[in-house]
């Protein structure tokens, strides 16, 4: 027996969408095996992980609250990844957005005014963009690798936040603890459904995804990105500005990450603290790939990943499983997804050297 790959010659429409589904299925199967190995009833564990978190009243709103930052960042990243701009420092841009927006919230305190929250939104976008502009500048001007510069800036951003909340921005009535004062009502994200934490950021995340999809499918920019993604050399011949796309990708990604940061601190958290993100900027990378670098796919992927966190907590509460299981599942999911993607451009060839192609086309579907 011999397993080989054969180019399809064109993208398979079926597997473009089939691959993530197959990857999810394979992950669920693998998860069941791991649960069994950990001494759990696989069916019960899967139920706890995937369904149970949604059964309570707060389940769905919480799912969207958790997914919103992932979607916002993921949409930005997926557009950049299409242009082969590898911004993996969204975590830092998220932090800067929170810092910029949070600055205004602290300045106005309990003051009110319709303009406060919109101004915070704009500031946060600006903050994220500034932090993303550094790798963009270093890449276009000095050819410095954006993967490494954006990542290093993430560490710097976290230390900057830590400095601010332990130093100049510390809550004067907070007994010296590392945190700012709580934001006033005028500087807090509006809640969409009373009694839940579902905030405006969720709507904006969905709107951003929709907008991203429109840009990608309808605009010249989207066309450029698609050409660049599939045929970089052709793009260069066509005279697309590489520097322009690098700037655009990073600014877009940074701005959306900054916005996500603001909605976390002005939404569920309500103040600046040293730990405002459980790694959204990194998880969003998985989200972008799981969503096929497609803004609408990113929405689905964000929800799936959010569910994995909620499920991980439920598994701890109900089954006593360790938290590390969540990280392993996310890694495995991404592995399967990347592996299954081969089916988009290639078909599996099973058997001896040159099997009849028609027969195999049947089998692969």
């Amino acid at each position: 027996m011999w397993l080989g790959l054969e180019p399809r010659g064109q993208r398979s429409a079926f597997w473009t969408y089939g691959s993530p589904v197959l990857a999810l299925l394979l992950t669920v199967v693998t998860a069941a095996i791991i649960f069994a190995a950990l001494g759990q009833d696989p069916a019960e564990a899967l139920w706890t992980f995937l369904i149970e978190p949604l059964t309570s009243a707060s389940g769905l709103p919480e799912l969207f609250v958790k997914a919103a930052p992932l979607i916002l960042i993921g949409v930005g990243l997926s557009i950049g990844f299409r242009a082969n701009v590898w911004n993996i420092g969204a975590e830092g841009q998220f932090t800067l957005g929170a810092i910029f927006g949070g600055w205004l919230a602290l300045r106005v305190g309990e003051g009110s005014g319709w303009w406060i929250f919109p101004a915070m939104l704009l500031l946060s976008i600006l903050g994220g963009m500034i932090w993303a502009a550094i790798p963009a500048f270093l890449k276009t001007r000095f050819n410095a690798n954006e993967i490494l510069t954006s990542l290093m800036l993430t560490y710097v951003a976290q230390l900057l936040l830590l400095y601010l909340v332990t130093g100049p921005w510390k809550d004067p009535e907070g007994y010296g603890f590392p945190q700012t004062a709580m934001f006033g009502d005028g500087a807090t994200a509006p809640i969409l459904i009373p009694e839940t934490r579902l905030h405006l950021g969720v709507l904006i995340a969905l709107a951003a995804a929709l907008l991203g999809w429109l840009i990608l499918s309808k605009s010249l920019l989207g066309f450029q990105l698609r050409v660049l993604g599939s045929a970089p050399r052709a793009a260069r011949f066509a005279g697309f500005s590489e520097a322009g796309l690098i700037w655009l990708s990073l600014l877009l990604g940074g701005g959306l990450a900054g916005l996500a940061g603001l909605f976390e601190v002005a939404g569920p958290i309500g103040q600046l603290t040293p730990s405002i993100s459980p790694g959204y900027g990194f998880t969003a990378i998985i989200v972008a790939f799981l969503g096929r670098l497609h803004p609408l796919g990113v929405v689905l992927a964000g929800l799936v990943l959010a569910l994995s966190y909620l499920g991980g907590e439920a598994a701890q509460i109900d089954l006593g499983l360790p938290n590390a299981v969540t990280g392993i599942f996310q890694g495995i999911l991404l592995f399967y997804l990347l592996g299954c993607d081969v089916l988009i451009l290639y078909r599996l060839r099973l058997g001896r050297k040159q099997p009849p192609a028609k027969h195999l086309r049947e089998a692969s579907r």
Binding site: P7, L138, N143, L148, Y163, I285, P322, G331, G339
Partner: protein
């Protein structure tokens, strides 16, 4: 040289060694055209497997061996996805780090708080009694010697051996190498596995020598710095050594100057190694010609052998 200076240099050597080990492996992988961003994940799995093995067998050597094998196993997952299935290397590497972080945390849960004696120092008789140079050069643990030997071996291999020439050819133009008849994928598998083994070794250095213990995420970003080092060195072994010691030195000195009572918030000093990485990257990368001359032209690009 005063005894204090010698102590400082010894501390910097320890801080630099994991960087050097991991970067040496990544250098070989990248020279063959494979960009594996999963260093951090491979190091963590190496660290936990090495530590657990050493605890159970009581043998540090077996621990080191197990860590190398674990690193290789992790890198083969990456190789299968990115080389055989032609998945995007950047994404696969990131996935490997995420996966490795979770896996090592799960496997290591039972070992947190367990302590081990550090790797024994290998003293080279007579030479270690030399003033100044003695303690620096001839009274170290085996992995520090190993990091130098491996680097020299890699430098020799890449630039003086036929196999090294082939490996570089694969990294520079996989199509040409394939046309001549070299097994591109197999060579890349081997280079990736070597990179994984070295990352495992670097992990073992963290958990067996640097601070002999296991804790979640104990490499704390060193895998990423090692990746930056390879670019910093513009893929040349000699510069890799310089870079590793420069970065190890900065990491150590950022704590040292805090102890001296420099009037700066600690967070600013803590961010020095990261800022230094950026500055150095910029200084190196702006010389596009040098990058182009030394960087493997096919770095990160998938290869499919048609026909």
């Amino acid at each position: 040289m005063s005894p204090e200076m010698i102590n400082i240099l010894l501390s910097i050597m320890t801080a630099s060694t994991p960087l050097l080990l991991a970067a040496t492996g990544e250098l070989v992988a990248e020279k063959s055209g494979v960009l594996n961003l999963g260093l951090e994940g491979m190091m963590l799995v190496g660290a936990v497997i090495g530590f657990a093995t050493a605890v159970h067998t009581g043998s540090a050597s077996l621990g080191v061996l197990a860590a190398v094998l674990a690193g290789i196993a992790m890198s083969l997952v990456f190789a299968f996805l990115s080389l055989t299935l032609m998945a995007n290397q950047v994404a696969t590497g990131l996935a490997l780090t995420i996966f490795g972080t979770g896996l090592s945390a799960l496997m290591g849960a039972g070992y947190v708080g367990t302590a081990l004696q550090p790797l024994p120092k290998l003293t080279i008789p007579a030479l270690s009694d030399l003033p100044v140079l003695g303690p620096l050069l001839f009274h170290q643990d085996a992995l520090i010697y190993g990091s130098f030997i491996l680097l020299i071996a890699v430098a020799w291999f890449l630039y003086r051996s036929h196999a090294g020439l082939v490996l570089r050819a694969v990294g520079d133009s996989h199509d040409a190498a394939h046309a001549i008849g070299y097994p591109v994928i197999a060579i890349r598998y081997a280079a990736t596995a070597f990179g994984g083994g070295m990352a495992g070794l670097a992990g073992a250095y963290m958990s067996l020598a640097y601070s002999p213990s296991w804790s979640e995420n104990m490499t704390a970003g060193r895998g990423w710095i090692a990746l930056a080092l390879v670019v910093f060195a513009t893929w040349r072994p000699g510069w890799l050594l310089l870079g590793a010691y420069l970065f190890g030195g900065i990491m150590y000195m950022s704590l040292y100057i805090q102890g001296l009572g420099v009037n700066l918030p600690s967070q600013f000093i803590s961010s020095l190694p990261y800022l230094a990485t950026i500055v150095v990257l910029v200084m190196i990368s702006r010389d596009r010609l040098r990058i182009r001359l030394n960087a493997p032209a096919c770095l990160g690009r998938p290869f499919f052998a048609a026909g």
